[in-house]
Subunit: 421 residues, 2 copies
């Protein structure tokens, strides 16, 4: 029986998990695939997992120069040394498996070119949705579909925070602090709560789903820091909840891609995705609605995808496929920004006669249809007044808001959250 040698770069959460999963599942991999996997070399700064001495590499060259090693797993992460290592390995003809969403979102084309030149493969299932096999599904199961839309919860930290705010009626800051104490959020949570992480993942996922490169610069990004417990509570009163959704839609050559807090009906399949779970909901021309749900992070779920890529790469041998759309300049693709969606708007107003009529009038003037109105609290100079609109073009809404803010009775727009049905 054939044993394939591989190398692992980085031995943190995912690297350690990958090493352990390969050890633990060796027997059933051999049973199902007819071959085994041997981690011949590991390159790491810190060997926290118990690794035999002879497996410890002392330089990337030791791995590159080892002709037995056909697949290298880059599990260092970030944009530092990882890219240099990946390019070196690919140029040496070694297939690379990576979970590095930030790097891939930024440098996918460059990395793939290095792979193409040498005929090596480049796989990155673990970069989106952790253990959820969404990229393989898009490539190997949905070939007969034109994918029209994606609605995805692809950041566990923010979903944990929003779920906790929802279930325990708490405010953002309070839950974030607790999440940090529990290790569900980083000491510097910016990448998660400001939605950078989701944006990287949406860039990769939507590019593969649409067969068109969706660069991160073309993705609108808005984090969850301004979501209040009050808005979450009102959402529930309206039969809805608030999720940080990564949304991408393609209609002919027109593409829109955006990550922002979104109100969705509680009856939507992804509304019930709680805590650190991820979920990708998409619509394909033949398959219709399809949803994937699972653990979006963690050592073993992510390792599940990494090891799957290793096995897949071995099975593909030298017949690797490449994302040719990365090379095209996409001149036929139009990235739209005048999106259509409903809006939840919470104004702070002085409760004087006629204020509701004035606001409603300005909305009507700009073609913004009103689905419902909620007036909260008693008279005063700072009373919340909530509108939910029907689907409306972003430009119309902004025009209406500009005029509304000029009204004497309106203190501010306290919240503006897009609504998807």
């Amino acid at each position: 029986m054939k044993i394939y040698d591989i190398a692992i770069l980085g031995l943190g959460t995912v690297g350690g998990g990958t090493y352990r999963v390969i050890e633990k599942e060796q027997e059933q991999i051999i049973k199902k695939e007819g071959f085994g996997i041997n981690v011949k070399k590991v390159l790491a700064l810190d060997y926290s997992v118990d690794i035999p001495e002879e497996k410890k590499a002392h330089s990337i060259d030791e791995i590159i120069e080892d002709p037995d090693i056909k697949v290298v797993c880059e599990l260092i992460g970030g944009k530092t040394i990882a890219k240099d290592f990946i390019i070196k390995c690919l140029k040496a003809g070694k297939t690379v498996v990576s979970a590095n969403k930030e790097l891939i979102a930024h440098s996918w084309g460059e990395i793939q070119n290095a792979a193409k030149e040498s005929g090596a493969g480049f796989y990155f299932e673990a970069s989106v949705g952790g253990g959820i096999p969404i990229l393989r599904a898009v490539q190997e199961s949905l070939q007969a579909n034109t994918i029209n839309s994606i609605y995805a919860i692809i950041n566990g930290t923010t979903n944990y925070i929003l779920s906790d705010m929802e279930d325990h009626n708490r405010d953002f800051d309070e839950v974030l602090k607790e999440a940090q104490a529990l290790g569900y959020a980083e000491a510097d949570p910016t990448s998660d709560i400001e939605a950078f992480d989701s944006t990287y993942k949406l860039s990769i996922l939507s590019s593969m789903a649409f067969g068109v490169h969706i660069p991160i610069e073309k993705i609108y990004r808005e984090g969850i820091t301004r979501i209040t417990g009050q808005d979450m509570q009102i959402a529930h009163e309206l039969g809805m909840t608030i999720k940080l959704l990564a949304i991408a839609k393609k209609n002919g050559n027109e593409v829109e891609a955006r990550v922002h807090p979104t109100m969705i009906p509680l009856s939507h399949p992804i509304a019930s995705v709680k805590g650190v779970f991820n979920s990708i909901y998409l619509n394909g021309s033949a398959v219709g609605e399809l949803m994937f749900y699972g653990k979006g992070a963690g050592a073993f779920p992510t390792a599940s995808s990494v090891v799957s890529d290793i096995i897949y790469a071995i099975n593909m041998d030298r017949q690797h496929k490449y994302a040719d759309y990365l090379d095209s300049d996409n001149t036929d693709v139009r990235f739209s920004t005048n999106w259509v969606s409903g809006y939840y708007l919470r104004f702070s107003v002085a409760d004087r006669p006629g204020v509701l009529a004035k606001i409603a009038g300005l909305m009507g003037k700009h073609n913004v249809g009103i689905a419902s109105v909620i007036q909260k609290g008693t008279a005063g100079d700072d009373v919340p007044l909530i509108f939910v609109t029907y689907d409306t073009a972003e430009e119309d809404l902004n025009a209406a808001l500009t005029e509304i803010c000029l009204l004497d009775e309106v203190n501010e727009v306290s919240a503006s959250i897009r609504v998807e049905q």
Copy 2:
């Protein structure tokens, strides 16, 4: 650019859908895969879809003898002529794609042997879960996992009926008649409502997930005909719902496989799967909880899987993989029947003093722990008395029920539904 010729056998819902999807999605298949698909021949009794004359085959031999045709899609269904056609095609070295769950569940080993002999491929993604790419995920994405358990809603008709009973507080017979009128249930609904269909699908799915052949004869089967509106209502009072679940578990060499109505908490991810949707929820050693959700039937969702298999088969060329566990006699696998689960038990009793104590006493005697008791209605000779038990071994429960039924006060066990948490 290469165009691959294929043939379609059968032009009913799925055959017609497949023909149309190939026509409609040709352009994006070429863009993504670098090759096209041409339906060169169609063999059907009735050409309801508009097919050019020259594509109509007049016999299976015309297809078998055509050297251009590499892949044949068997979409006739059932156990009739389909098997004969499949075997003939495979023996002629043509790869076969099929959606025929009944046939595959019955004759998988025999069909696969014919494929192995000629080196042809045999693919059947569409046989389980319609458009949900669950079989490909098990084979190409979860290789690093020992799959421990599967909980699946894989019959749309019964899920439609149960959802309607749940949402509109109606009884089984009433909803079935309406489902038949609407075309959601067959004129002879036996295969669906008596859970034969789910059993075929669980046999295929669990065999692939566990890497061990789970023949249909080893799967316990119980349909939904005895579920009443009353039980659905009480389930809701208990924070639960009732689904027809296909359940398979593997623990070492011990396997259990069963299809039966099951009470599950409303908070479980599959509890919210409504109407004709399907969902497969599984637990893998590395990935943990994973769920797939989508349309389990219908022309285009099923065609999505069929066309995916065609493309996959073309890409695999002659390197087809086979389920070698079908050849083994599985002597090391033990199929258990003394399953452990909770139970919802509804007794009809005469409301006399001490009846509850007597029943509870007999349960205690046989190690059946009681989680909750509900007594409904007023005094009389036919009063419902409901128990929900903790997890208990099936044999213990049956021993308790046997003694309980001998009590003078107990008229009958009106309902007995397994509970999974």
